[in-house]
C-alpha cells in the first residue's frame, strides 16, 4: 500500500540523486535562458539576427550553431560533475 503524500520522487531520492538533480537543474536553467534569448530575438528583434557576428556569418547562424554546441558542452559538463548511478 502506498501513501499519496509520499508520492513525489523528490522524497525518495538519496544524496547522490539530489546532487545530480541540483546540477541538472542549474545547467537546464542556463540552457533555457540561451534558448529563450534566441527565440525572443527571432520574434521581437529580428534585425539583430541579420547583423554580422563572427567570421562574416550573421547572428542567426552563430547563435543557432552555438545553441547546438552549447547543448553538447553542457551535457559533457553534466557527465563530468555528476556522481554515482552505477549498479
Amino acid at each position: 500500500m502506498v501513501k499519496e503524500s509520499d508520492a513525489s520522487d523528490s522524497s525518495q531520492r538519496g544524496p547522490v540523486e539530489r546532487h545530480n538533480a541540483r546540477i541538472g537543474m542549474a545547467l537546464f536553467l542556463i540552457y533555457v535562458l540561451l534558448y529563450a534569448g534566441f527565440m525572443g530575438l527571432s520574434a521581437f528583434a529580428p534585425q539583430v539576427m541579420s547583423q554580422t557576428a563572427v567570421g562574416g556569418a550573421n547572428v542567426a547562424i552563430i547563435y543557432g550553431l552555438g545553441l547546438i554546441l552549447a547543448a553538447v558542452v553542457l551535457a559533457l559538463i553534466y557527465t563530468v560533475v555528476c556522481r554515482g548511478g552505477e549498479r
Binding site: V2, D9, E17, G24, A57, L74
Partner: protein, 583 residues
C-alpha cells in the same frame, strides 16, 4: 522530374534489410522474456544506446524534411534542427535518471511507480498510443512517397514493405533487434552526411546563369506537359523539368570560390545572390497548370529566420503570429523528453549512469547531425540538382550531383531512416497495449510468456493499422502530424513527469487528470486552429476559433495547472492510504 529505377540503390537497401532481418532472427532467442522483449534485458551498452537514440529520433522528417526546407527556404529548416536538439536538454537534465530509476519497461511504469493507479495506466497508455500514431502516419506516408523516386516502386509497395519489415524486426526480437537497427541506421546517417558535407565544402560555390520559368500542365486525359511538350522521351531527346538550385552572384565579383571552410561557406553564401523558386497553380476545367518562377534573392535574407510559410510569423507584425512561432518552439523543446518511443530506450541500459552517458552520446550525435543539416540544405540549394516539384528529394539529389553511387547510398539510407523510427514507434505502442493495458490494467496476461505473446500480437496489429493509415492518408498533408505528436506529448506527458519528480503533493488523480486534459486540450486546440481549417477542412483559416495554430504555449501550462489543482483537491494527509487497486 522523371526518376529512374536504380539497381544500385535497390541492392544497397535490400542488403541493409537482409542484414537487419538476419540479425533480428539471430537475436530472436535472446528476447523470449518480457525483460528481453521490452528492454533488451537492460544490457545494451551505453554508447550503442546513445547512437540508437539518434537512430530512433532522426526520422525521415529530420533527414529529408529539414534538408528540403533549408534548400527551399533557407534558415527556417534549421529552426527545426535547433528545437529538436534543444528538447534533449530536458531529457538529460530533468528526465533521464529518474525515469530509469522509477520505470521498468514503459514510461507509464515510471509515472505509476508510486501509486499503482489504474487511471494513470489507462491515460498514459492512451497518450502513448495517440502520440505514437500521430508520429507513425507521416513515417508511413513518407515511406510510400519516397520509394518511387528513391527505389522506383509504387506508393503502396513502399508502405507495405516498411510495415512488413518493421513487424518482422519487432516480432522476432523486440527491443534487441530494434536497438541494433537503430544503431546501424544512426551510424550510417551521421557518417554519410559527414561525407556529403565534406564534399560540399570541397566543391565550394560557383556562379551559374539565371534560369527561365518552368510550367507543368496536367491535362484532362492524364498527360503531363513540361514547358508545352510531353514529358519523357521524344524523338529529339528527353523532355523533363530542368534541375534547379543556383548561385547567381558571389561576393567581390568572383565566379567560383574553390574549397571553403565551414564558416567561410556560410559567410560567402550570406554575401551571394541565390536563385529560389515560387510556385503558382491555376486550374481551368480539368487542366491544372503549375508555373514555377525563379527569383533572385540575397543570401543575407535567406540566412535569417522567417522566410518559410511555417515560420513567417517571425517577420509578421501581429502578436498572434509571433506567439504561434514561440508556441511551436516551446512544443519542440518540451516534446522530445515526453515521446514514449524515446523514453523506452532508457530501460535498455543497466543503470542511471548508463542512462546519463547514453543521453550525452545521443545529444552529441544528434547535435552533430543537425549542424550537418544546415550544410546539406544549403549545399542542395546551390547544387544545380534539385527537383523544383519535390523539396523532400533535396538531400538525395544533392548526393547525385556528386556521384550516382552516393545517390544510391543516400537513397537507401533515407529509406532505412523510416525503418529505424517506425520500429521504435511500434515497439512503444505494443508496450502500451501489452504491458500497460493487457497486463497491468486488465490482468489479461498472467505470465511473462503471455505478456510477450500479447506484445507480439499487438505489434502486428499496430503495424497493420499503420500500413492502412499510411494508405488512407496518402493524399493528405501529413507533415504537421509530427508537430501534433510533439504538442500532445509535451502537453499530456511532460507536466506529469516533471511534477512527479519535483512536487511532493502530486496525486494519482492529478496525474491522470493532467494527462487527459493535455490530450484533449492540445487535440481540441489543433482541430480548431487555422492550420486545421486550411489543411483538413479546406476552409478560410482566418475564420478559425483559436488565435494561433500551435497549442503548446497554452496547453503545456494548462497541464501543470490541472495537475496542481486536482492534486490539491485529492491530496490526503500523511498516513491516509491510497484507495487505488492493488496487485
Amino acid at each position: 522530374m522523371i526518376y529512374e529505377f536504380s539497381w544500385s540503390a535497390f541492392l544497397i537497401f535490400a542488403f541493409f534489410v537482409a542484414v537487419v532481418l538476419g540479425l533480428s532472427f539471430y537475436l530472436g532467442r535472446r528476447a523470449k522474456s518480457a525483460q528481453g522483449f521490452f528492454a533488451a534485458h537492460g544490457q545494451v551498452n551505453w554508447f550503442v544506446n546513445g547512437v540508437a537514440f539518434a537512430g530512433d529520433y532522426l526520422s525521415a522528417a529530420s533527414f529529408l524534411g529539414i534538408c528540403g526546407m533549408i534548400a527551399w527556404y533557407g534558415y527556417d529548416g534549421f529552426l527545426y534542427s535547433i528545437g529538436y536538439l534543444a528538447g534533449w536538454i530536458v531529457a538529460l537534465f530533468v528526465i533521464a535518471e529518474p525515469i530509469k530509476r522509477l520505470g521498468r519497461f514503459t514510461f507509464t511504469d515510471a509515472l505509476d511507480s508510486r501509486f499503482n493507479s489504474r487511471a494513470i495506466k489507462l491515460t498514459a497508455a492512451i497518450s502513448t498510443l495517440v502520440v505514437s500514431t500521430f508520429y507513425l502516419i507521416p513515417q508511413m506516408v513518407g515511406a510510400g512517397t519516397l520509394i518511387q523516386p528513391l527505389l522506383g516502386f509504387s506508393y503502396t509497395t513502399g508502405v507495405v514493405l516498411v510495415g512488413v519489415v518493421v513487424i518482422l524486426i519487432v516480432v522476432t526480437a523486440g527491443m534487441v533487434s530494434t536497438t541494433w537497427v537503430q544503431f546501424i541506421k544512426g551510424s550510417l546517417l551521421v557518417v554519410f552526411c559527414t561525407v556529403l558535407t565534406i564534399m560540399i565544402l570541397r566543391r565550394g560555390l560557383t556562379v551559374s546563369a539565371p534560369s527561365q520559368p518552368q510550367t507543368v500542365v496536367k491535362t484532362a486525359d492524364g498527360r503531363t506537359l513540361i514547358n508545352g511538350m510531353r514529358q519523357g522521351d521524344l524523338p529529339q531527346g528527353k523532355n523533363d523539368l530542368e534541375p534547379v538550385g543556383k548561385v547567381l552572384a558571389l561576393p567581390n565579383g568572383q565566379t567560383s570560390t574553390g574549397p571553403l571552410g565551414p564558416l567561410k561557406f556560410l559567410a560567402t553564401l550570406q554575401g551571394s545572390k541565390v536563385e529560389t523558386w515560387t510556385r503558382k497553380d491555376v486550374t481551368t476545367g480539368d487542366v491544372t497548370t503549375t508555373v514555377y518562377t525563379p527569383v533572385a534573392r540575397d543570401g543575407s535574407e535567406l540566412l535569417t529566420p522567417g522566410g518559410s510559410p511555417t515560420f513567417k510569423g517571425v517577420r509578421s507584425a501581429k502578436l498572434t503570429d509571433k506567439l504561434d512561432f514561440l508556441s511551436l518552439m516551446l512544443a519542440l523543446f518540451c516534446g522530445t523528453a515526453s515521446l514514449p518511443h524515446i523514453l523506452i530506450r532508457y530501460y535498455t541500459v543497466k543503470d542511471q549512469a548508463a542512462a546519463r552517458k547514453s543521453t550525452v552520446v545521443g545529444i552529441a550525435s544528434i547535435g552533430f547531425f543537425y549542424i550537418l543539416t544546415l550544410f546539406l540544405g544549403l549545399g542542395a540549394m546551390t547544387s544545380g540538382a534539385m527537383d523544383v516539384t519535390n523539396n523532400n528529394m533535396a538531400a538525395p539529389l544533392l548526393a547525385r550531383s556528386f556521384s550516382q553511387t552516393l545517390f544510391a547510398i543516400i537513397s537507401a539510407i533515407a529509406f532505412t531512416t523510416v525503418l529505424g523510427t517506425v520500429s521504435g514507434l511500434i515497439l512503444a505502442a505494443s508496450g502500451a497495449v501489452a504491458h500497460d493495458l493487457a497486463t497491468n490494467s486488465f490482468r489479461l496476461a498472467h505470465h511473462e510468456n503471455s505478456q510477450v505473446n500479447f506484445a507480439k500480437v499487438a505489434a502486428v496489429v499496430v503495424g497493420v493499422i499503420a500500413m492502412i493509415l499510411g494508405i488512407i492518408f496518402r493524399d493528405f498533408n501529413v507533415s504537421f502530424l509530427v508537430g501534433w505528436a510533439f504538442n500532445v506529448a509535451a502537453s499530456a506527458n511532460l507536466p506529469s513527469l516533471v511534477m512527479l519528480l519535483f512536487w511532493k503533493r502530486t496525486t494519482s488523480a492529478g496525474i491522470a487528470a493532467a494527462i487527459s486534459a493535455g490530450i484533449i486540450s492540445s487535440l481540441g486546440w489543433i482541430l480548431l486552429s487555422g492550420q486545421a481549417y486550411k489543411d483538413i477542412y479546406h476552409l478560410d483559416p482566418s475564420r478559425a476559433i483559436v488565435p494561433f495554430s500551435q497549442p503548446g504555449l497554452v496547453t503545456i501550462p494548462l497541464g501543470f495547472v490541472v495537475l496542481i489543482v486536482v492534486s490539491l483537491l485529492t491530496h490526503r494527509p500523511r498516513g491516509v492510504l491510497d484507495e487505488s487497486p492493488q496487485p
